[in-house]
Amino acid sequence: MTAPETSSGPRSAADWRARLDSAGAAEADFVAFTAWLEENPAHRAAFDQLDAVLADVDAQKEHLAGHKVVRFPVWKKTAAVAAIAASILAVFLVARPPSGPGPQTAWETRTGERKDVTLADGSVIHLNTATRVSVDFDHGARNARLENGEALFEVTPDANHPFTVTAGDQRIEVIGTAFNVLRHDGAIAVTVSHGVVRASATGKAEAATPARLIAGNLYSRREGESVYAVTMVDAGAATAWRDGRLAYDGAELSKVVSDLNRNFDTQVTLADAALGNLRFSGVLKLDSAEAVVRRLEGFLPISATPQGNGIVVRARDQ
């Protein structure tokens, strides 16, 4: 049986899929498609093979979109941004350009304090303890600077106005939506909760290509160095501080202590640096340095004693 095809008619599985997925698919198309399938068993196999690929794409739909759909009336062609996420964001884009010239604004938190700030474009910055953030929205640009500390950025997508965060010599360009940045003691850590982020060092440490991070990625680097590491983490743990908790999965005690010291005035020190290599997994409620250290004693072979205004942690006597 011969298919009633014109030279411009569908010829491959891809052509047929595009035709039949359209709302304009007519009865005649399905009859011709039947004929095409009957013509050669390989045609059905090719059609199924393509469907398997589309199943792979469909399975990632939520991650690729990352946002609920906001339809907006006028479709504007966005600048050709290579990243796929950008083209997706453009779809969900709320037509809300950053408001005109505004003064540079800064916010800070004291030790133990946390604060949420909503910006003119609807983006939200959650400041963790002892953190200073400034924002410059002049001339439609969206620039934020993390002077020190830790902040979680939830960025309102706007493909025409990229959102950039600088932390020391670290530059983070937002393609997607939510990520956490920590700058402390010369270390930078960026954890992405949603969407896609481009991270690059600036100045001397600048590398040829920026790192492209997706949800669940932890990017870490020492300031001034161009070497960075990207690992897979539980992004929920990295932002647990928003609920007044710290979550760890096999973290070194030195990291836990460093986090505690950012959160409390009472400073914890390790009597022996080797103790810093002990590993801790679990969730710590941030009530007070004393209470947290007491809980850690239950998990690790350590004992804590008050000393001056701080707490000293030693190896527990066996």
């Binding site: 698919a25 399905f30 990632q60």
Partner: protein
């Protein structure tokens, strides 16, 4: 309910054609009968538009969607059985344990996402725009056409082009022995 009456009339009149179509699509006569029956149940229970101008095209499209779902489910089942067999070497006592550790699952999921992103990245810009709007966001061809100021034929061409490129990408992934494909 005239729309439903029209459709049920067309459903019966079109039986031979739909069975032939479904048999060709699924290469399984029994499965074709199943889907034809299923289609009837859907027509009875589904919320239908006020009027269906082309009842026959409507029925073909519905049968096409049901057949695609069925083929996809069958592949998924086959894939799971295969995984179960492959994983059967992990045993606790005499009981085969097929569960991968959650961490591996998470990494595998991440890898799959990255791979799909790579595929879509490989599309030419306008083609990617159209594909993303339709497949990811679910915007109909007609609406994409009016948004982008192109014809629905051009939308269809972009979609066909995207399908072709994605298919080639996936094939070269498989050829290079990268991640095995989901059903």
């Amino acid at each position: 309910m005239p729309a439903r009456d029209d459709l049920l009339g067309a459903y019966l009149a079109l039986r031979a054609d739909l069975i032939r179509f479904l048999t060709a699509r699924l290469s399984d006569a029994a499965a074709a009968e199943d889907v034809y029956q299923d289609l009837y149940l859907r027509l009875q229970s589904a919320e239908l538009p006020e009027a269906v101008p082309e009842p026959r095209a409507f029925l073909y499209k519905a049968a096409y969607n049901l057949a695609n779902d069925r083929a996809r489910a069958a592949r998924r089942r086959a894939h799971r059985d295969q995984e179960w067999q492959d994983a059967g070497t992990y045993k606790v006592g005499d009981v085969p344990v097929a569960d991968a550790p959650p961490v591996e699952d998470a990494i595998d999921a991440r890898r799959k996402l990255l791979r799909v992103m790579e595929w879509i990245d490989a599309l030419p810009p306008r083609c990617r725009e159209v594909f993303t709007l339709h497949r990811i966001t679910g915007v109909p061809h007609q609406e994409i056409a009016s948004r982008l100021g192109i014809t629905t034929k051009a939308v269809e061409k972009h979609m066909a082009n995207a399908f072709r490129i994605l298919g080639e990408k996936a094939e070269s992934d498989t050829a290079q022995g990268r991640v095995s494909r989901d059903p």
